[in-house]
Symmetry: C2
Subunit: 238 residues, 2 copies
Amino acid sequence: MMGGVAEDVQSPRRSGRPRRPPLDRGVIAKAALEIIDERGWAGCTMLALASRLGVRAPSLYHHIEGQDQIVDLVRGLVIEGIIDPSESGLEWREAFFAFGVSYYRAFATHPNTIQTLSTTPVRDAPTLRMYEGFLRMMSEAGWDLTRSYEAVIGLEHLALGFAYEWNAEELMLDSGLALRHGAPLLAEITRDRTEQPVIAEATFLSLLRRYIEMFALHLGVDPSEAAGFDPPSRQERT
Amino acid sequence: MMGGVAEDVQSPRRSGRPRRPPLDRGVIAKAALEIIDERGWAGCTMLALASRLGVRAPSLYHHIEGQDQIVDLVRGLVIEGIIDPSESGLEWREAFFAFGVSYYRAFATHPNTIQTLSTTPVRDAPTLRMYEGFLRMMSEAGWDLTRSYEAVIGLEHLALGFAYEWNAEELMLDSGLALRHGAPLLAEITRDRTEQPVIAEATFLSLLRRYIEMFALHLGVDPSEAAGFDPPSRQERT
DNA sequence: ACCTGAACACCGTTCAAGT
DNA sequence: ACCTGAACACCGTTCAAGT
């Protein structure tokens, strides 16, 4: 009974290779991000995801607990490309800047993820590590936690705003519509945004520099007092 | 035939009053915003909306074209509370500041609208008017359109980020989870955020002041050149 | 262990039928 | 003119049944 030799004669080895990659969280995450990039988050249904993977929708539930977990997986994938500022060895301003730039680029590459990722609870380890890395870097430079946390929150939304505004499929503002509603200035500035993504990054970088300077001037203290330079009161470390 | 007197005898006038408000876009918008405030945008289904209005779902389609239009209506309602900086009569920095504050408050009052409103094309007249008003104010103060547009985009996302982060039902970051994943600094700063909304507004206001100063320093030009004062090259107005 | 078909509850939207 | 029940296509998810 066991070990029957009733195998097809003319498939000596060729038949052993499965024609689709074995399912696991990694390939599911990758497929999900691809669909989101191509068709937006709404297009990433369980059916679309399953059929891209050559499988039926219920099969996915053997590897993930539900749609929520796809959010976590995709977030991990997007966040992966962001540098850890606590391991950069740079002075805090430069580490902050490098972090901000790579944060912006990660999301500018995947603008369709922004809507969901920016307003969904963080549950994945890579993202928690990212925050911790930023806080550690700032802490080691002498900043207090509250200030550092405000800094990263503000930075995130500034970066996400620019990344989305200039890279998302659907434009937020339609020039023709603005004109028809008696908003000529708005209509003018929203015309011809073909090559704007490039300009947008330059603008963001410029803004980011200013943003960091703002914190360097010790937010909450009269700028004239702190004007001009180095890190605030350095905490003693053992 | 016409004008039959076959009316119920004992309902001389009382029966004339309908027990539910007549349906129109205004009441639909208001009901939608209430549901979104209470249960989040996902809770605002056509069924939930209809039943709050004492009506069946298909009835809504006699007044609105579909769910997309609900977005427009709700946006109009939220944006309504924001001041028009071009009619404030204030100096540009103060007008900018007042605009930013009322923008922040409008969304801090309705944090559950942020996810959808911040990533959905603008189609409603009130919001287009809001942008136009800001651009006109900046233009009259001598700023060029591109700079002004960047200013309002950056401001929006900064404001939305803070408004969401500190007022949304679901916290973005869970302290316990952070601790369990080896992120002690993040865990510490996200503990006890009970009365944070108040602190958040103060933080945002402080940040907003700096943000405006940043633009006052003529973004894109070496700050040491422009350091310290008044509006940029004033355009001639007829 | 993993995939599947069938089924369920719940969406948004359409439409012929009523008044 | 406006509301309704019934119906449709499409979701996410569950589960017993297969291998």
